[in-house]
Symmetry: C2
């Protein structure tokens, strides 16, 4: 494989990796994720790309042939000023990129594949002597997974104006640290002049495996939401309290987790309780509280509403039996996103290998945020043999990853020249 | 109430208390619990009691009229040597006391009531001019709750020889810290010469409420055990993974928690899942692992074995359906303890108010460990109006606490003179 491509993956491989699971722990604004951000800055400098950043930590490295930057000269020892130069015109810019944070114990590709492929696609276009008519930007958005502050795509939401700083600043992580304590601020501005966004991502399912295709184009993202279920009971001694005297929120939670699974299974949708926090979480104490988060995704907004309503009703009915209380808070709800069909068709059509498949996904992405904010957006997926993601088992073959780089380079050439 | 009694409770009230819940967080070998140990040493010095300690941190303050210590002289400014004097004869000693650690978010009385009442009972006997024929010791055993290293009564187990140091040293807390890292060592020796043990404890149920009695005597402790259930599945993306493709250990756990509750309810026994640890515990990830601890207590050892076997079988059957795996490890199992009936009768009989009630309990205590090791042992319970324990709602009235002090003083007088 090309030298730079291999070197980039070698750089990334050890950062934030668990020696026991082989998975990645790249929580936003912690050492491993900050190391990746520094790595990206270095990649931009080495390529003579002009680096824009915002107060949230989102980064865009611009290849702007009209900006007067001659990559070959600057690649050796770029002056510091280059990496922070501002004020270049991004008008008509085509943006591509993804994120570098991970879920807890996540895979190697979710996020980094889009960033590495974007840089490699720029390298490929340059090697082929392509001079784009529009500036091409490589973006890294922070906190895409929402694994720290609970709101997925927080960086791209702020950059695109999908959420206001006043609403985001007070979000807290599990240790009680506020978002505003780890970033300087946030708001739109970074994406001014961006006319299109293309995100390449590892597929998080087996659709491309079934279709026998290395690369596909996204049609839509299912609506999805995160709901916090707060089950309240009464702490008590696990030995001396008779079963009939208990007010045990663990029981209400357990029934709710099973009910959510059953509802989603019957309806062909998705419902997951993957995060639970018990208070006091002692072996010999009936809990006073169980907090649990429902991740729900459905093929339509109506179906999502119905699923959450049904699960909430079943939880409430069980709470009445248990003497407990349950309160449900929607922490984030994202409507369905349909990617620009004309753009998807333009990307997918007329390849040597025939048209690329156009497929839906149930996973949220920064691309969904930008699309919802009115920026024409497309996504490319790269085949994932296991179909598994958010796990160390997530994978993609090197030939497929290289096919993804070529596909992205070809796409950028179509859109930016 | 007597000055010293009030002052002791005032000293203890703020230590390790949560401002939000009002509950106590006195984890073994952390600052609040160490502060309480220092407080106890100070109480012993102020009373001229000779302090024995062992490498595990267990403490016994001896009132030994034959040991040549004149309390009134030493109370003002006891020399340091007194607090560490060793080699006094404890032969025929009567020990009383309890523990100062708490569960996470526990009550004020579970443990401290027995320690404060023991010191106050010594004060009362001295005020009444009683000179015991046997030394009287006030004990504080560490890690009674097992809330840090997972094994209840760890301090008294080591002191009484119920567990060997080689088996205990490697126990680890939730942060991976080994027991041997926080203590100097452990083993028997501290209880040499102890002939009897009496532990006063707040009742952790409503038996004395129902009987209209302030004080009762224990007949037996139900057998009980702690079992770690390790549910294993496959981490995956919560959005993109179809329900039918999942291997989700949360479902196996949820069914098991409900099954354990149902079994215990039907059989009139106790089963609790109060502690759960999920990996990776992310909202948008199907978990790879759910660890959960079953606390089970039954009226007989056969019933306990049957309960745990049934729950394990149901968990295993559900795991087969879910494609998950479950492994059950008994972390600690305590056989039934019957307290010395003659001793209980001697304590309970012939009071002005009539006989004190003799009642069983499903809660484990250091008294159960010492009894199982062959030391004649008794317990006094003080009425708890809510019946709730291991919770900030645990309570006892001041008149009942004072009745407990008098009852303990009377008991010590019967046993030690």
């Amino acid at each position: 494989m090309p030298d730079d491509f291999e070197r980039m993956w070698s750089d990334l491989a050890p950062v934030g990796r668990s020696a026991t699971s082989g998975g990645y722990f790249r929580q936003p604004f912690t050492a491993p994720e900050r190391e990746l951000a520094d790595w990206f800055r270095e990649q931009a400098r080495a390529r003579g790309l002009a680096l824009d950043s915002d107060a949230t930590g989102n980064l865009v490295a611009w290849w702007d042939p009209d900006g007067g930057i001659v990559p070959d000269v600057l690649a050796v020892d770029p002056p510091d000023s280059v990496s922070q130069r501002q004020g270049l015109s991004r008008t008509g810019g085509v943006l591509t990129g993804s994120h570098l944070d991970s879920v807890l114990d996540g895979g190697a590709y979710d996020g980094p594949l889009g960033v590495v492929s974007a840089l490699a696609a720029v390298d490929e276009l340059r090697e082929r002597g392509v001079v784009p008519a529009r500036p091409i930007g490589v973006s890294v958005f922070v906190e895409e997974e929402g694994s720290r502050f609970g709101l997925a795509c927080l960086g791209s939401r702020l950059a695109s104006g999908a959420i206001e700083w006043e609403k985001a600043r007070g979000l807290r992580d599990r240790d009680g640290v506020a978002f505003e304590e780890v970033v300087e601020g946030g708001g739109p501005g970074l994406l001014d002049g961006v006319e299109m966004f293309v995100e390449l991502h590892v597929e998080q399912g087996r659709d491309l495996v079934d279709r026998g295709a290395a690369v596909g184009v996204a049609s839509e993202i299912w609506p999805h939401g995160r709901y916090r279920f707060d089950f309240r009971g009464e702490a008590n001694h696990a030995g001396t309290t008779r079963m009939e005297d208990r007010v045990d929120p663990m029981l209400t939670y357990a029934m709710t987790a099973l009910a959510a699974n059953k509802q989603a299974r019957l309806a062909g949708e998705r419902a997951t309780f993957g995060r639970v926090e018990v208070t006091p979480n002692g072996t010999n104490a009936v809990p006073s509280q169980v907090l649990a988060w429902l991740d729900a995704r459905c093929s339509s907004e109506a179906a999502l509403g119905e699923l959450v309503e049904t699960v909430t009703r079943q939880a409430t009915e069980r709470a009445e039996r248990d003497g407990t209380a349950v309160e449900v808070t929607a922490e984030s709800v994202s409507d369905a996103v349909t990617f620009d069909p004309a753009l998807a068709a333009r990307i997918a059509a007329d390849h040597e290998s025939g048209d690329w498949p156009v497929i839906p996904t149930a996973a949220g992405h920064d691309a969904g945020i930008l699309a919802a904010q009115g920026i024409p957006t497309a996504m490319l997926f790269v085949r994932n043999p296991t179909g598994v993601s958010h796990s160390p088992a997530e994978t993609a073959s090197i030939p497929d990853c290289l096919a993804g780089v070529h596909a992205l380079a070809e796409t950028l050439e179509r859109l930016a020249t």
